[in-house]
Amino acid sequence: MSDPMNYWPLLGVAWVVVGFVLRANPVIVVVSAGLVSGLLAGKSIGELLALLGESFVSNRALLMFAMTLPTIGLLERAGLREHALRWIAQWRGLTLTRLLAGYLAVRQGLSMLGLIDIAGHAQTVRPLLAPMAESAAARPHGEVSREDRQKVHALAAATDNVGRFFGEDVFLAFGAVLLIQGFYAQHGIVLEPLQIALWALPTAIAAFVIHAVRIVVFQRRLDRRTASAIAGTDPERADAVD
């Protein structure tokens, strides 16, 4: 190992960053970055093509979420969103905070059990959570603005991510814990997966508390904005109170 370190492949990383900053199509940025790094690492075109093809094919499970689309599309056509909206509208005690914080708790709990793919953006957020959240957000003062509706949808998607990420590592059979254990084992440190998994618990609790507080704050601001928009006052002034 007396070879000097080859820093040139790092240009592939810079290529990705520049591509995203320039807002080029991400697919072409990512694929070309791989080619740049590989060429700078001294690989031949043949090696590089094989590497690209093999790596792509072995990761194809990542597109399997698309298999949910026919079901969701068909249900949407049959009025799934319209029904969910009307149904939620009948629940009197349901606020945006209760809905999203409740979803966060359930999502974290399930992913701690290793049940990661039973919820998600395609499976639950688009067909169920986002329309429910929209309906709950509109409850206190009536229809929210288009801009706020998009923020509610984005927060619903964010809540799913936070719940998933900060639950899954508490489960000992999940990939991340096994990756950590495997890495240490290769370097001569032997650990039980449970020893690693339990240390994810403090972060899981912190994630729940921080995100739940944010949901509460979001709803308060949203309520104030819609209330003042409906009363015809300037929403900026109402916001300036905090």
Partner: protein
């Protein structure tokens, strides 16, 4: 015996159908895109088998196909494809009511059932589920069953389900492919020695005697590299081999289990903040048809930053007891 391979073929058929519909609509770039992807799905196993047996040509051809997909992606417009008229959807919602929820709920319920009980199922001594992750097989089978359930509930023709699936697929367009190409990039970077170079750079810059500086370099390094790669899994081995193991564990005596767990979770804070984690941040924005592709990231930043600070404090406090 059902293996994940059968579902890849099914997926290929679905993609082929999407391609054919686009061809009929004279959207040639879209048609070629989904068609090529279908070919890669169907030929996946033979490609990997040939590569294992030492034949490079099939995987090289797949590599050419991946480059072609990237070029086609630049020519694809992402556009909203018309849904069924609202009046029809309202009337149908009225008629079907809660029955509409069942097929959607079947997806998680069947997945869980298969994960829990699937490995024990056997017909005549042969296991029902073969090679591949049981969760993935469960999810795929659940999707198929849910499609049938949705067809039954809505009393539509099965081909309508495919058409509606294609509508959502084309609404997402190339964004649907991003998770896959990013994972591909991870593989190519790893094989090109990007990881070693990053670690060597970082450890040359920080003052190694200072425990706090090492914790910050490790934690923030996890965040930054996760943001660049879009994936904490790719960042973990790089950062831990470069900084965590030599400096924090060997020099400063950090507990490996605690450092590893918190290091990985610190990386996840980076995942919340980057467009490179496309399947979590850009795909939902596309699925929800948000105007701002970064809206989900914006909604996550105020959670990710305080959580990152909490993680750094926990790491400094817990790992050196």
């Amino acid at each position: 015996m059902l293996s994940i391979e059968h579902f890849y073929w099914l997926m290929a058929l679905f993609l082929l159908y999407a391609g054919w519909r686009n061809l009929r609509d004279r959207r040639f770039a879209h048609a070629a895109f989904w068609g090529l992807l279908a070919a890669l799905f169907a030929a996946g196993k033979p490609i990997l088998d040939a590569s294992k047996a030492g034949h490079a040509l099939p995987s090289q051809l797949a590599g050419v196909a991946v480059i072609a997909l990237a070029l086609l992606a630049t020519r694809m417009r992402r556009e909203h494809i018309d849904e069924a008229p609202e009046a029809q959807r309202l009337a149908s919602a009225q008629r079907l009511g809660h029955r509409l929820f069942w097929p959607a709920l079947l997806i998680p319920l069947v997945t869980v059932a298969i994960v829990l009980f699937g490995p024990k199922l056997a017909i005549g001594g042969a296991p029902v589920f073969g090679e591949g992750s049981i969760t993935l097989i469960g999810l795929a089978l659940a999707c198929v069953l849910a499609t049938f359930a949705a067809v039954l509930v809505t009393r539509e023709r099965p081909v309508v389900a495919l058409g509606e699936g294609r509508r959502l697929l084309d609404t997402m367009g190339w964004a649907a492919l991003l998770p896959l190409v990013l994972a591909t990039l991870g593989g190519v970077f790893a094989a090109s020695g990007v990881g070693e170079a990053v670690a060597s750079l970082v450890s040359a810059v920080i003052p190694a005697d200072n425990r706090l500086a090492c914790v910050l370099a490790y934690g923030l390094g996890m965040v930054v590299f996760t943001m660049i790669m879009g994936n904490a899994f790719a960042a973990f081995p790089v950062m831990t081999a470069g900084i965590g193991l030599p400096l924090l564990i060997q020099q400063h005596g950090a507990a490996p289990a605690i450092l590893g767990s918190l290091g990985m979770l610190t990386g996840y804070c980076g995942t919340l903040m980057t467009p490179m984690a496309a399947n979590f941040n850009l795909v939902p924005a596309a699925l929800l048809e948000l105007d701002d592709p970064n809206a989900v990231i914006r909604a996550q930043l105020p959670t990710a930053i305080p959580l990152l600070l909490v993680n750094l404090v926990l790491m400094y406090w817990l790992a050196f007891r």
